[in-house]
Symmetry: C2
Subunit: 512 residues, 2 copies
């Protein structure tokens, strides 16, 4: 809706003085000019973001009202797009990059990651096979192997060890859901083969398992892969295990299924649940799974990043006995979306289910068996050059700074936890494992638990309406609980302290 | 492996003079400095790319040898990452952005798209629900509705029309494979409900259909969704339909399945196949599907972009009768990876299968029913702010320039086709529909067809080894065929002409 639309001749002149030169969408000087403008916007955005409301106040459909219901016929100078970005888009954003963002999990980020992602967008390579862009595959494999070492994963998960190419391997996917889906499919197909199923006739007998705290996307991934919704077992958890999976209960349910003629196929164990950061005991789950020949996947989307610090690594104990693990550097390892790292102990178990081999992708490198074609470890064929940003993060910052980053966030969360514990109007609902604090206004005095639920709901709404903080909630043990997730990449102690002051003040207003 | 690794103190000083200041991964001045360096790299890359070999000459594992098998402990100045990018990564890339790239389909790109993607990486918003970032969802919906108008899709596919919110909708996904998968799952679940299946017990009876020229990822998506591999029908095509799907044959196969007690569930029609750009007749396929209550999906990943020009729009005739259509601006609409647009006529048919509603994502906007939560139209939960780049492309260039871009590519392809037709050593194997020319050395004189196959294979290998052009091949009608795909965004007529000169010269060397 830039005014230039009314003046096509002027708009065209943005590209060529006479309006007749050929259109050059990647003219290097235009690229340089547009991108420098974008960079300056970003740097200003980070500088000013603290003063912007974290949550916007806009109505559904507002953007169409501002930008128009139909596309422009004629071109406009790039400045018009940038102006509309500033005036119409930014005010409608929930600012995940704000240091006052404490909702969900932070999407952490860094200068090195953004630079790597930018270069990937510009190279725009599509690395479906090794040959389609050797360096893209090599870089992804290298970055994953580096990260495996940061996490002290066993070499069985690595693509390439000091003794050469292994049987394990990794791939960078878009989401944890995709990691679950592709491993579910591999496990499903293995179970069908094992049980002598004709085609998918045995599918209705397969069963899958996870704690009731597991991310809802697991249930969705199971349904996508064709598992019977009635055979997705949700194992109850409670405060006695801090909402982690009880291996004895898991065994009982699996054995009952076997007794009923069903086929236990897959277990998802979570290290750091979304709701409250509960941790399922990886090794014990793997031991139970082994009795039933079931696939074990570890979802460490958020907390996996913490395991680069020795003091948190014990949460992965037993990982050498699982089949696959995924974690997302786009959550807590300073790498912008999207970047979910999936490791499998036997890459062939994935590619057996996911391989395609059309004529136009046949090439000598693939035929040699010496290379990994990453399309065979994911849903799609096309793929961004995601390895570059992950490598740039590790290369630029180094292990020591990445550990410092984790520890700094955990220290801030601990500080907040201490604030909460020192104020007797509040309670910490579950022990803090990482950088998420689950807390609530306690049922004090004449308040019932239901009254407290309502008070917490009002507290959250009132906090979020200020624009000075954004918190999300969950339900733990039937109680409405506030989640305070520390770690947005621009966050400093003072933001945590200010948020706590705001929480105290808002609580006084509600309770008074 | 930068030399600074040996000198941790110096490396730390890249971040703070005393090595003790807190680590600030998003320090706005660092962001500005890193990104400006990246931008200059990109501009230089585009300026020099023409002289780089399109296909690299590197061995599997080469990058580990250059960058090291283990991650560095200490940080290094960003210049070290940039230097290693230049010296170790760039020489191992297949340069999809090169104007001498004629393989697969080009991954077209533009200054506006890269800028939009960069800003998305920096904002790093995760728009799973509308509330999680209103502008991100609003922008995606707006960009999709604009594109729908460029494609003259019926309003039934739009999110928001002049008369308000419709029942249709769109979503930007990572790949066509994901678009196929989610629509397959929706169609699968609808067929199971329709046939009174208990759980997934009816799944082994469901059947799906596509022409034998359909992308292999369709067969993979069907397997992911749990369809029986034996019930994925591949309908033979031949030169009599230029390798497009014959609706009469489709009807026969579907009727035979019904007669055998099976349940036709889903048909994939392609507009512009990867192999040879064949076009399945959309309207006629929809008419057959209607007789069996089967879902019709149109895969227009590549050629959909051409349909923004009136002279190509007829390839979508009948689209108002299909259930879903996907096309990928990351292929031919100047938008960098990843950007696949999926439109469905009834958004609820998708979300019925893909919806999740965990406690921590509950919010008033969702409860109001007034907004779209895009997580319910895709595999995962998390999602990049992909709408921004697509909007920036349409906003900056306008419909007229985008049409000029398509026409210019088609004109260059036509020029190449004329070159081939004018040289009697060659033949054009199928009529050119868009900007892909399928051609081969003919079996002349004493050559058998098998000899010609081998000559073409040698021609391709020799061309690709020069580094001055990169072509891929396919097999059409049992013959080895070269694919010349025009349209890389830096490409001009002179590159097509040079490639043709190189093809002629190399052919003379082989044939002589």
């Amino acid at each position: 809706m830039g005014s230039l639309d009314a003046n096509p001749a002027a708009a065209f002149s943005a590209f060529a003085a006479d309006g007749k030169a050929p259109f050059q969408p990647l003219n290097p000087e235009d690229v340089r000019a547009y991108l420098h403008k974008a960079v300056d916007f970003i740097s200003d955005y980070y500088t000013n973001i603290e003063s912007m409301p974290v949550l916007p106040n806009v109505k559904p459909g507002y953007l169409q009202g501002e930008l128009g219901a139909s596309p422009p016929t004629y071109s406009a100078p790039f400045d018009v797009s940038m102006k509309e970005l500033r005036t119409s888009v930014v005010p409608g954003m929930t600012h995940w990059a704000s240091p006052n963002f404490f909702a969900f999990f932070p999407s952490t980020n860094s200068a090195a990651a953004i630079a790597g992602d930018l270069i990937a967008s510009a190279m725009n390579t599509v690395g479906f096979t090794w040959q389609a862009s050797p360096a893209a595959t090599e870089m992804e494999v290298l970055a994953l192997d580096w990260l495996a070492q940061l996490l002290r994963l066993p070499t069985s998960f690595m693509n390439r060890t000091s003794s050469g190419r292994g049987t394990g391997g990794g791939v960078i996917l878009g989401t944890t859901s995709e990691a679950m889906l592709v491993t579910l499919v591999a496990a499903r197909d293995a179970a069908l083969r094992r049980t002598g199923s004709v085609g998918v006739s045995g599918l209705p007998r397969l069963t899958v398992y996870a704690a009731d705290q597991t991310h809802s996307t697991f249930f969705k991934a199971c349904r996508l892969a064709g598992f019977d919704p009635a055979h997705i077992r949700s194992i109850p958890t409670g405060p006695e295990t801090n909402y982690g999976l009880d291996p004895a209960k898991l065994f009982e349910v699996m054995q009952a299924d076997v007794d009923a003629g069903l086929v236990p196929t897959y277990i998802c164990a979570t290290v750091g649940t979304t709701s409250s950061n509960a941790v399922d005991p990886v090794g014990a789950v793997a031991d139970v799974a082994a009795m039933f020949n079931a696939w074990v996947h570890v979802d460490a989307a958020y907390a996996g990043s913490a395991c680069i610090c020795p003091e948190f690594r014990h949460h992965l104990d037993g990982v050498e006995r699982v089949d696959s693990i995924s974690m997302s550097p786009h959550k807590w390892l300073l790498t912008c979306l999207d970047c979910t790292c999936l490791y499998v102990r036997d890459a062939h178990r994935l590619s057996d289910s996911l391989e395609t081999n059309p004529e136009y992708l046949k090439n000598d490198a693939t035929d040699s068996g010496e290379v990994t074609d990453l399309k065979d470890m994911q849903v799609g064929v096309g793929r961004r050059f995601r390895g570059l940003k992950l490598w740039m993060v590790m290369r630029t910052y180094g292990t020591a700074k990445l550990q410092e980053h984790i520890r700094s966030d955990v220290a801030m969360a601990k500080m907040f936890e201490d604030f909460v514990r020192d104020d007797d109007r509040f309670e910490v609902v579950v022990p803090r494992n990482f950088a998420l604090v689950c807390f609530r206004i306690k049922a004090n005095g004449g308040m019932t638990e239901e009254d407290a639920d309502e008070a917490n709901r009002v507290l959250m709404d009132n906090l979020n309406k200020t624009g000075k903080a954004y918190l999300a909630h969950t339900v733990v043990g039937d109680r409405f609980v506030l989640r305070f997730a520390v770690g947005s990449s621009l966050q400093e102690e003072r933001h945590v302290t200010s948020a706590w002051e705001l929480i105290k003040k808002t609580t006084s207003e509600i309770m008074g």
